[in-house]
Amino acid sequence: MGKPWWHILIISAIALLLTLMVLIIFYPVPAPPSEEMKDAREAISLARKNMSETYAPDPYMKAISSYDSAMAEWRRVNEDFIYRRNYSKVYALASLSEKKAIEASAISLNSTSSLQVLLDKELKDLNNLLSLINRIFQAYPLTTDVRNKISTGKMLLMDAQLAYRDGHFLESEKKMTESKTLLESSYEFADSHMRSYFRSYPQWRIWIDSTLAISRQNNDYSIIVDKFSHKFFLYLNGEKITEFTAELGKNWVGDKRRRGDKATPEGMYKVIKMLDGDSTNYYKALMIDYPNEEDTIKFRAAIESGSLSPSARIGDMIEIHGNGGRGVDWTAGCIALKDREMDSIFKYVRVGTPVTIVGSVDNLRRVLNR
């Protein structure tokens, strides 16, 4: 007796169902892009460590947005029927994300490395510029505005150095640019001011040569004061026998034009009085014949031309005196030396000793190359 027909039907149905299940279980399901997403994630993480957010923001942000889009697309595709899922767009986005993250890393590493080299050089250059400013202009009477600019430039340079040391190269670059603008403009202003001052050098040279010639001719002592280098030189027979540091009036750049301008005069003078004890407030003093005839003519011409107020008065009482050694320019136009230096020159100098005061003994090129 054969099996009843419905038995055969059930067995067939079960067999069909089992076959279907086996097919479902073993039929290849589209592979999810796990590895590609992992690679993209790792590349982004590396890019972040390489500070790509700062140094390569465009590719870095593109990597992030591509990754987010890949995730969104992955979620969307997962909602499709399992055998109909197509991850090709997810693969493409993950691949783009990884590519952009790698690009960001490379740009970042390259930028930081080249920026580091560039900033290193810029920092050295700016420090050199600051040293130059300090060397040439520290005692140069600049305006408050220029002094403030130099100060701000210096502070910004310190900020730039700190940022550089901490690896914040963009911040360092920004501060350095600001510092450079201030320091360069201050230097240019001061430099042009100084160059303009040194236009009188040929005249100074004539005075120096004449003074040395007189010293040689008379076998006698002569004094030359170099305002720029703040030096007092004593010559005998045209040969320098000693030098001291001199302190001057606050506004020592340029010739003295009127009383109260705090400028130290320039010209060929001579000692007219030797003062010590109660006759001077500055230990010992050598009064010079300022204003001489030439100074008086210049002063009158300035009044007449209107470059000086009619109420202006010509200066006087210019001395080489003691109480110096303060390290700054503090006089009202006189030349201050240390007391022991005054003692020393009092041994050699007499009434009539030539005193020549010039802007500089050296020309500008030599001054700048000191």
Binding site: H7, I10, I14, L17, L18, M21, I24, I25, V29, P30, A31, P32, S34, M37, K38, R41, S45, R48, Y67, M71, W74, R75, V77, N78, I82, R85, Y87, F137, Q138, A139, Y140, P141, L142, T144, R147, N148, I150, S151, T152, K154, M155, M158, D159, L162, E247, G249, K250, K262, G325, R326, G327, V328, D329, W330, T331, A332
Partner: protein
């Protein structure tokens, strides 16, 4: 025969159960995201940026693992749930560490700020000792300009500190300290040059 039919039904039921039991662990995902948000709100990205990035990276990895499971026929999410729990714990730990780090930064900033104030006060005192004549001098003017800049830098740092931006304040204070110390050295050098005791 009956047992065969039952076995077949059991297989079908198992397949159905296995494929249906892996629902996305949305509750755990939401909890972890909330923990990460709380960590961010605690300024972990400012005070512990590397730790915060690690939390985010872990979360991204778990989310990718969940999607990978979503793509499979049998979606057992037990492992992912565990990972989410671990990320939540990590985020909570980072949030707790932020508070400690913030306090540490605040204290460091406070100490440095006091140090700077001491240096600034000393600078103000020393600058009075600088040689002054009838008119003062270029050097003093330059130092005065520098003093003004240092004061401004200290005030800026103090402002950041008062606002509670301790990390920003610490960076500014470090920069200001460097300036104040540099200026202190300059003034002392000028005083030494002028043979004035300080």
């Amino acid at each position: 025969m009956k047992s065969r039919i039952l076995m077949g039904m059991a297989v079908i039921a198992m397949v159905a159960v296995l494929s249906g039991c892996g629902k996305k662990p949305q509750v755990e995902i939401d909890a972890t995201n909330a923990a990460i948000e709380a960590t961010k709100a605690a300024e972990a990205n400012v005070y512990l940026p590397a730790d915060f990035a690690a939390v985010q990276d872990s979360m991204n990895a778990v989310m990718a693992a969940i999607e990978a499971k979503e793509g499979k026929l049998f979606k057992g999410m037990a492992a992912e749930k565990e990972k989410l729990t671990a990320v939540t714990a990590l985020a909570n730990q980072v949030a707790a560490n932020v508070a400690a780090k913030k306090e540490e930064v605040k204290k460091e900033a406070e100490t440095l700020l006091n140090d700077i104030k001491t240096v600034v006060a000393e600078n103000a005192k020393l600058v009075l000792k600088l040689p002054r004549g009838k008119e003062g001098a270029a050097v003093i003017e330059q130092i005065k300009a520098d003093l003004g800049n240092v004061d401004a830098a200290v005030a800026d740092a103090q402002g950041a500190f008062d606002k509670g931006a301790f990390m920003d304040a610490l960076n500014k204070i470090k920069a200001a300290k460097e300036k104040a110390d540099g200026l202190n050295a300059e003034i002392k050098e000028a005083l030494t040059k002028a043979r004035i005791r300080f």
